[in-house]
């Protein structure tokens, strides 16, 4: 067992950290408030080769693993959670193409994603299909060499700004999840339109648009994996996505913790630094312990994925624990800042708002527990 990063990993993470400190962090507040997609940051992610970390070199990526992808995501999220979210959602388009795509699909779609030339998005959620992903209403009807898509998706991260989309539609609604099919769509295809952008409690600059399919014709060669194979595509994608969500929460929690420690060591009340009060010390201890657990769970899930081991249970555990830990940590970080923590003067109020998302997207905490329990019981039965 080895918990250390290799020298190469350390150098890679150091380079990313420098970029985060110099570029992302100083602008994070501006990004939070701007209400415009952070193109400048996103462009730089591509220039610095961060958009294809876990994609093999033959498809324009760096050829590293999910672990490296995750640790970089942690650093990005700590510096600018919005940019971290773009990075995470991008992978939700890359991963299914890598895993299920044909060679032609990989050359055509994966390469520009891996180099950062184009941004990706993943569309599953619909107004009546959230946790209940099987209830997807978007229809895909075969017509010769094409499928005609009709319906809509909501909340889609990078929606409208991305150029390459992995969309889950249903070719046979009667069969529920068994009719689901994954398609690769390109921005600009006739009948593929964008609707409303959600107004949110945080992440003002992150796009979460409605995708509208209006007799949208998609060539049959754009099916990912196979007809009616969409449920598997979606579930495997979300499993990797959960590692990303878990580690994003770790990064954000770390940023909140760092801010809290710094503040506790400088704020003076009753003639001493508040860090000298045991009540504050205990908070810090709990926060740090939460973060450490969340991080180890996340790294472990990523490591299992790279090692070719079953990782879905660990990814779900990491996601539910890390997202809830992140909310606890951000909550306490505001508490340690007192009234100042409630103002825009300090970043913790933003962290507090941002944290909540991790408990909801890519499967709510409740759904993660269902996934975990499902696995546990299966394992128990198998014994």
């Amino acid at each position: 067992m080895d918990f250390a990063f290799t020298e190469e990993q350390q150098e890679i993470f150091a380079a990313v950290k420098e970029f985060c400190d110099d570029v992302l962090k100083p602008r994070a507040r501006e990004v939070d408030e701007a209400g415009e997609y952070p193109w400048d940051n996103v462009r730089q992610l591509g220039e610095l080769d961060l958009m294809g970390i876990a994609i093999p070199e033959q498809y324009g990526g760096l050829g590293l693993g999910v672990l490296e992808w995750a640790v970089v995501g942690e650093l990005l999220s700590a510096a600018c959670t919005t940019t971290g979210a773009v990075y995470g959602a991008h992978m939700l388009a890359e991963y299914p193409i890598l895993q299920f795509g044909t060679e032609e699909q990989k050359q055509k779609y994966l390469r520009p994603l891996a180099t950062g030339e184009k941004i990706g998005a993943f569309g599953l959620t619909e107004p009546s299909a959230g946790s209940d992903a099987g209830n997807v209403q978007t229809r895909a009807d075969r017509d010769g060499d094409e499928y005609i898509l009709n319906g809509s998706k909501i909340f889609i991260t990078n929606g409208g700004d991305a150029e390459i989309y992995v969309i889950i539609a249903n070719v046979d609604p009667a069969r529920g999840t068994r009719g689901l099919t994954a398609f690769i769509l390109e921005k600009g295809m006739p009948g593929f339109e964008f609707g409303k952008n959600e107004e949110k409690m945080a992440y003002k600059s992150l796009s979460n648009r409605e995708l509208i399919f209006n007799d949208c014709r998609v060539p049959a060669e754009n099916i990912l994996y196979k007809e009616k194979g969409g449920f598997r595509v979606a579930m495997e994608t979300l499993a990797v996505g959960r590692i990303g969500m878990a580690i994003g929460a770790v990064g954000l929690a770390q940023a909140a913790y760092d801010a809290a420690v710094e503040y506790a060591m400088t704020r003076v009340q009753f003639g001493r630094h508040i860090s000298e009060f045991q009540a504050i010390q205990f908070k810090l201890a709990d926060m740090a312990t939460d973060i450490e657990c969340a991080r180890l769970l996340s790294y472990q899930a990523a490591w299992r994925k790279d090692a070719g081991l079953d990782f879905e249970k660990q990814a779900a555990m990491a996601k539910v624990f890390a997202s809830e830990a992140c909310s606890r940590v951000c909550d306490q970080a505001v508490q340690i800042h007192g009234g100042y923590g409630y103002t825009k003067e300090y970043p913790v109020e933003r962290y507090f708002r941002e944290a909540k998302l991790f408990e909801i997207v890519e499967g709510t905490s409740e759904i993660q527990r269902l996934v975990i329990a499902n696995r546990l019981l299966k394992e128990a039965k198998a014994k």
């Binding site: 190469e8 890679i12 420098e18 110099d22 730089q44 220039e47 080769d49 961060l50 760096l62």
Partner: protein
């Protein structure tokens, strides 16, 4: 076009201390970085390469661990790197340093532009660039805030105390770069990974056919005989009370002291 960038590895100055017992610099545990102005020089060279083609070679004279600075420069996008390292170079002042760098550049041979930082964060002298230009027998343009190659000639905007000066000079030439010149790029991960694997040759005094009498401590006319912490002024008077009162006290004190 061939651009040669001279870089120096320096300690992050804000963290340098003096050991009060031995009166020497405590460099231990202080992170080493590429001299910040040299990053501007690297960036300038990369931009010129992007415009005019050619290659960028980075060189440094320093101990073996200075190789790390060269790797960082390679990660940013430099094509080649050379470490100039020999016990004989230890203790070089700016004269010996610029002589040694000139020998190395002469060995490289073909070049169009040499780029240096304005000054190094540690030695802080700003003397190596002009010294090097002299040893190479080429024109120098210091304090460059912009450098362009127009019709084969170098056109440089210089940042001086209270104005800018635009000068033109033929190539080959040497410039020293200021911070305001550009925003040095961050190393991409592909660059970091490539730089890790790059072979970096080390050139000794013999390799560059340097006269060792002119290198290192022997070749350095200046000798640092003592280092000491800067003198701290003794603390003055603290004025206390409510704001109005404090402000009034201050004004009358300043009047008494005849500074107002």
């Amino acid at each position: 076009m061939h651009f040669i960038v001279c870089i120096k590895q320096v300690p992050d100055t804000t963290e340098v201390r003096i050991d009060p017992a031995t009166n020497t610099l405590v460099r231990e545990g202080v992170p080493s970085i590429i001299n910040p102005f040299d990053e501007n020089a690297i960036e300038a060279a990369l931009q010129l390469r992007e415009k005019h083609g050619g290659k960028v070679t980075v060189i440094t004279m320093g101990p073996p661990q200075a190789e790390q600075a060269l790797r960082e420069a390679l990660a940013m996008g430099a094509d080649e790197a050379i470490l100039i390292s020999d016990r004989a170079f230890a203790g070089s002042d700016t004269l010996a340093t610029s002589y040694t760098l000139a020998r190395a550049i002469n060995k490289i041979g073909d070049y169009d532009l040499v780029l240096c930082g304005k000054q190094a964060f540690d030695g802080d002298t700003a003397q190596v660039g002009p010294g090097l230009a002299e040893h190479l027998g080429i024109p120098q343009v210091t304090y460059a805030i912009d450098a362009q190659i127009v019709d084969g000639r170098l056109r440089v905007k210089r940042l001086l105390e209270s104005y800018f000066e635009v000068v033109e000079t033929p190539l080959p030439a040497l410039i020293t770069c200021v911070k305001q010149m550009n925003e040095p790029r961050h190393a991409g991960l592909r660059g970091v990974m490539k730089a890790r694997k790059a072979q970096i040759p080390t050139w000794t005094a013999q390799d560059i056919e340097a006269d060792v009498e002119r290198c290192g401590l022997t070749g350095s006319p200046t000798n640092v005989i003592r280092v000491f912490p800067p003198q701290r002024h003794r603390a003055g008077e603290k004025l206390e009370g409510d704001v109005e009162q404090v402000v009034q006290t201050l004004i009358s004190k300043l009047r008494e002291a005849k500074v107002l």
